[in-house]
Amino acid sequence: MNHVEHLYLHIPFCTHICAYCDFVKSRYHEGLADQVIQRLIEDIEGCPSHHLKTCYIGGGTPSALSLQQLERLLESIQNKWRNIEEFSVEINPEDMTYEKMACLKKHGVNRLSMGVQAVQQRLLTILLAITILRMLKKVTQWAHECGINNISYDLMYGLPTQTIDEFKTSILEMVTLNPTHLSLYALTIEPNTAFGRQKIQPVDNELEGFMYQCAIDTLTQLGYHHYEVSSFAKSYDFRSQHNLSYWRYKDFIGLGPGAASKVGNQRWTNTRNIHHYTLKENLLSEEVSLTHQDIVIEHLMMGLRLDEPLDLSFLSKEYPEFEGQLNEVLNQVSDLGWCYYDYPKLVSTPLGRLFLHDFIVKIMEALDH
């Protein structure tokens, strides 16, 4: 495990809970957060990895932590690993302070990801989310002042009652802030969320499709690279290195409640129960040994999200048993215009990425035979 170069840390706290979120989270509580931070620090100290290329602190909302808690956590990371190439933290502008920003900078954080979702108050009310544009601008300014210039914003589309114009307005508002990166997510309604419980219906697939296309057109015209299904970067250098490691199916370790890890053919997910996590009880919620077939499918499921070619030569080397079926199905899919395939190079086309779900299912079916 000491070769793993990508680390994810999960902070399961938020100052308020959004209606669509199904990550492990709870309302911020100082005492409980202290315990979780303590556990995380123990895990960080015990982590076998020698060198990290990327570290990503997500949540929940890491910025919900108090300045002291943030400081303790970041210090322990800094003590353990030096020179992390990309060190990202997710923040909610609403609970940021200048001091917290300075603290992030001081401990080596060099990339921020801010959840914005939408700029219309009407939609934020539906989402139970709060990010006032004024605050977002202020926090962005603090980041630049502190010297953190690699900033990504998250927006959502396909929200109940959202119009294409509203979505486009949100995108343009973000672009005026000149971010290095944007992530645009279609709303998915998960069962264990307020939306799921209220049985909110997803928007019409056609409208969602139009919104997505509108975003792609707008951002591409403005010079952003659409390098992954939901991700846009100002230049290739600003692609999220940490997320690329997932899409390239690299090994990673996740610490904190609900965080997942994959090392070699092992994947495990920590308990989603925050109390169990702090008490070290029932530590894992899932643990699987991946079969060759799992590995091949997942490698493609992740890799085809990107606009960069996959090199399939590793497959023929390590899992020659699937070469025939894979070759056959990829040729078929290539006839549909969903990928360019010239062994060992494989890359999805924009059309293929639009129907990636069906694309992968075809591959899965082929490997079953």
């Binding site: 994810y8 056609e206 997932y246 779900h357 899965m364 079916e365 079953d368």
Partner: protein
């Protein structure tokens, strides 16, 4: 055996009134089954029966009971299927008895099936013993139920045992009543053999085992038997009774109920209702009441995976070993490929067969919407029967079409009578009678086309009466109707498996509902799919399934891989249940869409 110490009886009841629970208590009380071995409701042995709380196959159990008069009696308890589809089987097992215990729920009172069963029992000259069950329920009103039994059925019910089968209350009173009131068998052991076949099961080692009631004479091992209706002849290998374990005996004599194994290979030789006699000293007359079973409802069964065609044939053959009422023959559909046209006694029978094939034989199925059998008179004067709508001849060749009608008997609380009558009219029903049962309920009788019953009649009935109405029906005959064939087109191609026969006046409404329902059920695909309903060349309804714009998971990071994989696996499994029709992928449920009648 002394026939005066034998009592043969059945328990009859409306579904859920406690028939099986009472049977369990009787088995416990007579220590036929020790309590600790007792699995709840032991007579219902098929999994499906247990799950659905219904009895499909019959069973007969011999019990020894020491009565209050100090004598030990041999009781044969013959179980009956509790559903309208199996009326004929019920009537045959009742014919094997001299008496019937009529269980009525103390809270719910008389229901449609209670009456239907009572009439069957009366047809067979049975002594009927009313029993009021569930008297321990807070809502129980035994007095009202007793009055209703006396007023509606005309049975003396003052002395009816008041029991709680669940708690074992007053079960002995039921058995005492059976001994006092049910006459002993009056067969003649010296006459030529006459035994009634009321059920059969298939045993892989011993062939078909027939369940019989010996009416006259006796059966011994080695006897040569003849089945009088089928003329099949076999030699008895084993015979005996069930307690409910199988107990072998040297012979069965007049008055007894038991089983016979004779290395019988074909179920076709052993028909329920047939009479067994000896080859060498035959009875001249068979017992009354035998008839051939006719399928009332047909549907096409197709494997979703075409390579499973032979497996499906094998499954049907195996089920057929135990279920003579199941009919099937090979058919092909342009849309669905190779499959079988199957005939059933009714809707429940159809559901049970489908579910057993999917569950026990693990063959995912596509079932087409059920159809009744139409009598189609052609212009050349001939008549053909049509059980598959897609095979209906062109309009210009048809002189007229007749469809089966049933007499539907419904019991309903007063406040729902109006809504129920409205439903019956919508279903082309013809009013026959309205009878007062007591101050709270009415009995409503209509003649209704069976095809309407096969659609959603029962579900509708339940929903408009909030579950309080009960329902039973019997076939009464064929009646001419203005019927037309409606075709469904997907992407401009007619899909034969979706064709239905409808009344001309209802075609527009139904066509509209079907295309809307199909739009809902067929997932969006990469191209737009028009869904149309047509009569002849005329399109009467249309709805379009819009093209899928995108199908990709918005987020997929490290923590999502496992979950998203499962999601994709689910979609993959779902695709297995889809059928490629032309270039459209159609899910299984879509073929039943014609049944959804949210008009």
């Amino acid at each position: 055996m002394d026939q005066s110490r034998i009592r043969n009886f059945s328990i009859i009841a409306h579904i859920d009134h406690g028939k099986s629970t009472l049977a369990d208590r009787i088995l416990e009380l007579t220590q036929t089954v020790a309590s600790r071995e007792m699995m709840a409701q032991i007579l219902d042995s098929l999994d499906l029966e247990r799950e659905r709380g219904i009895t499909i196959k019959l069973n007969a159990v011999q019990l020894q009971y020491k009565a209050r008069d100090g004598e030990v009696y041999t009781l044969h308890l013959i179980d009956t299927p509790g559903h309208v589809d199996f009326t004929y089987e019920v009537s045959r097992s009742l014919a094997a008895c001299e008496g019937a215990v009529l269980v009525v729920d103390a809270a719910q009172g008389i229901e449609a099936q209670t009456l239907a069963n009572v009439y069957l029992a009366l047809d067979n000259d049975l002594e009927i013993i009313p029993v009021i069950n569930k008297v321990d329920l807070p809502s129980a009103d035994p007095q009202r139920v007793i009055e209703a039994i006396e007023n509606t059925i005309g049975l003396e019910a003052k002395d009816a045992p008041l029991i709680s089968a669940k708690n074992g209350l007053n079960i002995e009173d039921v058995l005492e009543a059976v001994i006092k009131k049910v006459p002993p068998p009056r067969g003649d052991i010296n006459k030529p053999l006459k035994a009634l076949v009321f059920d059969s099961i298939f045993d892989p080692y011993r062939g078909i085992i027939a369940y019989i009631r010996v009416v006259d004479g006796s059966i011994k091992i080695g006897d040569k038997l003849r089945f009088m209706a089928t003329q099949a002849e076999y030699e008895v290998v084993e015979c005996g009774v069930r307690t409910p374990k199988e107990v072998k005996k040297q012979q069965l004599v007049a008055g007894e109920v038991g089983w016979v194994a004779a290395a019988i290979k074909s179920i076709k030789d052993v028909r329920v209702g047939d009479t067994i006699t000896h080859v060498h000293r035959p009875s001249l007359e068979p017992l009354k009441g035998y008839r051939e079973l006719n399928s009332m409802v047909f549907c096409g069964l197709y494997p979703t995976d075409t390579s499973k065609y032979n497996d499906l044939r094998e499954a049907l053959e195996k089920l057929n070993l135990n279920d003579a009422a199941l009919k099937f023959e090979a058919e092909t559909s342009v849309a669905l490929g190779f499959g079988f046209r199957c005939g059933f006694l009714g809707l429940l029978h159809m559901d049970v067969v489908q579910e057993r094939i999917e569950r026990e034989y693990k063959i995912p199925l596509i079932a087409t919407a059920p159809s009744v059998v139409y009598h189609v008179y052609l212009t050349d004067g001939s008549m053909i029967t049509i059980d598959n709508p897609s095979l209906l001849p062109p309009v210009q060749k048809i002189q007229r079409i007749e469809e089966p009608f049933v007499k539907a008997t419904m019991m309903v609380p007063n406040e729902y009578v109006g809504a129920l009558m409205e439903l019956c009219h919508k279903k082309r029903g013809i009013y026959e009678d309205l009878v007062v049962i007591d101050d709270q309920r009415r009995q409503l009788i209509y003649q209704v086309p069976l095809s309407e019953i096969v659609y959603d009649f029962f579900d509708r009935l339940k929903s408009i009466s909030r579950g309080y109405a009960s329902f039973d029906y019997e076939f009464i005959g064929y009646v001419e109707s203005k019927l037309v064939k409606m075709d469904i087109l997907l992407n401009s191609e007619s899909v034969d498996a979706l064709s239905i026969i409808v009344h001309r006046d209802f075609a527009y409404g139904r066509g509209k509902v079907i295309v809307e329902k199909l739009k809902e059920l067929i997932p969006r695909q990469q191209f737009e799919i028009p869904v149309q309903a047509s009569i002849g060349n005329k399109v009467i309804a249309r709805s379009d399934i819009k093209a899928l714009r995108k199908n990709v998971l918005a987020k997929c990071y490290g923590g999502d891989i496992s979950r998203k994989r499962k999601l994709l696996e689910k979609q993959k499994e779902g695709k297995k249940r889809m059928k490629q029709v032309g270039n459209v992928e159609v899910p299984q449920e879509a073929f039943m869409a014609v049944l959804s009648m949210d008009e």
